[in-house]
Symmetry: C2
Subunit: 337 residues, 2 copies
C-alpha cells in the first residue's frame, strides 16, 4: 500500500492542504511546518498520485504527435520530441495515424475525447485529414502543425524552407556545370514535396534551363522509388549528369542503382539529396544534401504547443526555418567523355 497525502498529513500532524502546499511548492507555509511535512514525505516515500491530480486539474500533461510513415526522418523527429518533452515535463505519446483508416480515427478520437492528451502535433500528411481537424476544432485542444499542406492562419505551424533549399541545391548543381538535372519527386499531398519540386523548377528557370518533364521522376521519397527512378533516368536517350533526390532516402536508392549499373558517384554522375539525415554522411561517398532542421522543428513545435497550453499567445503563428546546403563528396563537375 503506497502512501497518500492523508498518511503524510497524519504523520506530520497537519492538514492535507498543507501537505499539498509543500508538495507543490506553494507559498504561505511556515518554514518549520514545511520541514516537518517534508520529513514525513521522505519517511513515507510519498509521491502524489498523478491520476488524481489530473482528474481534479482536468489536464493530462501528455502531448501527442501524429506520425504516418516510419522512416529515418520520423525517427529523428521522435527522438528530438521525446527529448524536448522531457525538458518541459510533458509525457509524449507517439501515435501512428493512417488518414481515413477507421481504427486510427477511433484511437485518436479516444485520445482526445477521453481527455488523455492536452495538445496535438501533426506531421504530414496527417494535417490534410479533415477528421483530425474537425476533432481538434470540436474539442478545442491546442494544435500545432509541422509542415502543413494548407497552413491556416488560426493554427500555429512550423515549416522548413523547402523551396529555398531545393533552389539552392539546384543552383549548386548548375554552378558545377550540370544542365541535365533529374529530380526525384515525392508524394503529391505533401507540402514539403511540392515546395522542393517548385524550388528545383524555379532555379532552372532562373538560369534559363528548359525544364524537361522526363527528368521529373516519381520516387515516393523512399529507397525503392529512388532506385527505380534512377534506373529509368539513366536509360533515357539523354541521361542526366546529376540526380537530385527530393529526400535522402530516394537519393540512397539512386546511388544503389547507379552502383549496380556500374556508374561511379560522383565521377560519372552526381547525386544529392534533401534532409541531411543522421546516416547521410555514412553512405559512400558521403551525400551532398540540404539540411532539414528536424531538431529545431521539434523544439519549436513543442515550444509553441506548451505556450498555447499555458494560455499565452503566440507572437508569430507561422514560423519558417531557413535551409542550408551540406556539401559532401557525392556531387562534382559533370563527367567529360
Amino acid at each position: 500500500m503506497t502512501a497518500t497525502i492523508k498518511d503524510v498529513a497524519r504523520m506530520a500532524q497537519v492538514s492535507i492542504k498543507t501537505v499539498s502546499r509543500v508538495v507543490n511548492n506553494e507559498p504561505h507555509v511556515a518554514e518549520d511546518m514545511r520541514a516537518r511535512v517534508q520529513n514525513a514525505i521522505d519517511l513515507l516515500g510519498y509521491a502524489p498520485n498523478i491520476s488524481a491530480r489530473r482528474l481534479v486539474q482536468r489536464r493530462s500533461y501528455m502531448l501527442c504527435i501524429l506520425l504516418h510513415t516510419s522512416g529515418f526522418y520520423q525517427s529523428a523527429l521522435i527522438n528530438k520530441t521525446l527529448e524536448v518533452g522531457y525538458e518541459y515535463d510533458y509525457d509524449i505519446l507517439i501515435q501512428t495515424y493512417f488518414p481515413s483508416q477507421a481504427r486510427s480515427k477511433k484511437k485518436l478520437a479516444g485520445l482526445i475525447n477521453e481527455r488523455r492528451i492536452d495538445g496535438l502535433i501533426t506531421t504530414p500528411p496527417c494535417d490534410t485529414d479533415e477528421f483530425v481537424l474537425d476533432l481538434v476544432r470540436n474539442s478545442h485542444i491546442p494544435l500545432v502543425q509541422i509542415s502543413p499542406y494548407n497552413p491556416s492562419p488560426e493554427v500555429p505551424a512550423i515549416t522548413a524552407d523547402d523551396f529555398q533549399g531545393a533552389y539552392l541545391m539546384t543552383e549548386h548543381l548548375i554552378n558545377l556545370g550540370h544542365r541535365n538535372i533529374a529530380f526525384l519527386k515525392g508524394p503529391r499531398n505533401h507540402r514539403t514535396s511540392l515546395e522542393r519540386l517548385l524550388g528545383y523548377r524555379r532555379a532552372l528557370e532562373h538560369y534559363h534551363i528548359a525544364p524537361k518533364s522526363q527528368l521529373e521522376l516519381d520516387s515516393e521519397f523512399n529507397f525503392d522509388g529512388g532506385y527505380t527512378a534512377a534506373k529509368i533516368a539513366m536509360n533515357q536517350v539523354e541521361p542526366p549528369s546529376a540526380i537530385f533526390g527530393g529526400n535522402d532516402e530516394a537519393a540512397f536508392g539512386a546511388i544503389y542503382a547507379l552502383q549496380e549499373m556500374g556508374f561511379s558517384v560522383p565521377q560519372h554522375i552526381s547525386v544529392c539529396g534533401f534532409d541531411d539525415l543522421a546516416n547521410s554522411k555514412n553512405v559512400w561517398p558521403g551525400l551532398t544534401t540540404v539540411h532539414h532542421p528536424v531538431n529545431e522543428i521539434a523544439e519549436q513545435a513543442l515550444s509553441m504547443l506548451v505556450t498555447l497550453l499555458e494560455g499565452k499567445e503566440i507572437e508569430e503563428r507561422e514560423r519558417v526555418i531557413p535551409s542550408h546546403l551540406v556539401i559532401r563528396a557525392s556531387t562534382s563537375h559533370p563527367f567529360s567523355h
Copy 2:
C-alpha cells in the same frame, strides 16, 4: 463543458451505474435500456474521462520502455512496440534512460511512484542499473527485460540467440574459405555484445582456427567505431580477408572505410553484420547479416508484460528466439591474388 456520466444518466433517465454498464459492455442490461443509453451517449458525444477511471481503478494503462542510445535498432524496436501497444490498447511511454544520471533516475522514479505506468520494459544497458531494479522491486510493478545482462529467474526476459547467430555467420565465412576473420566488438556491458563475440570464437575453435587477438577489434557497435576498426584491421601486416561486424552499423562503417581505401566488397574483402536492420539491404552491395528478430522481441516483451498485468502467470520466464542468416552480396570467397 464536456459531458460526464451523470449527464448521460440524466438524459437517458437511468442511473449512472447503468450507463457505466453500457460503456464497459457489461452484461445484465435490458436491450431497450442499452439502446436508450447508447443514444444519449451518441447525442452528447460522451466519452469516459480516463483520469477518473484510472484513479478509481488504480491503473494507468500506460507501459514504459527504457532505452539508452538512439540508433536504427532502437528505432525499429520503438516502432514495433508502439504498434503492439496499440493492439493491446496500452499507451506506450518511450523513456530515454541514462544509467547513473541523476535526472534520469528522478524521472523514472516519478513515473513509477506517481503511478503513471503499470509496467516496465528494459533494454540494454538499462537492465544493469541497480537503481532501476531497486525501484521496480520496491514498487512491485511488473518488469520484462529485453536481452538482459544478468537474467534472474524471477524476472521474465526475452532474448535473441546472439551466440548461435554469430556462430552461424562465422561458420558461413569459414565455409566460403576465409581463415583470417576480423570481428568488430561492441560495448562490454551488453550481453548481446558478449554473446556475439563468444559465438564467433566458438566457431573458430570448432574449425580449428587459432583465434588472434589483433583480429578482435573494438567498434562500440556504431558507424565510427566500425570505420576506425576496419582501417586498423586493413593496415595490419596480415590483413583479414573478411570482417564480421558485431552489428550492422559497425559493418556499415567498415564498408565505408574499405571503399575509401579502394577495396571492393566483396571482391577484395567480405563484410557482414548482425541485426538485419531495415536499411541493411539498401547499403551497397547489400549486407550479409544475421537476422535479429526485433519485431518478435517487441511482441513477446509486451505480451509477457500484459500477461503479468492481468495477474496471470507466465509459463516460460526466459524466452530465446533463434537467429538465422541473411545472405546478400557483401560476402563471397576470399580474393585470390
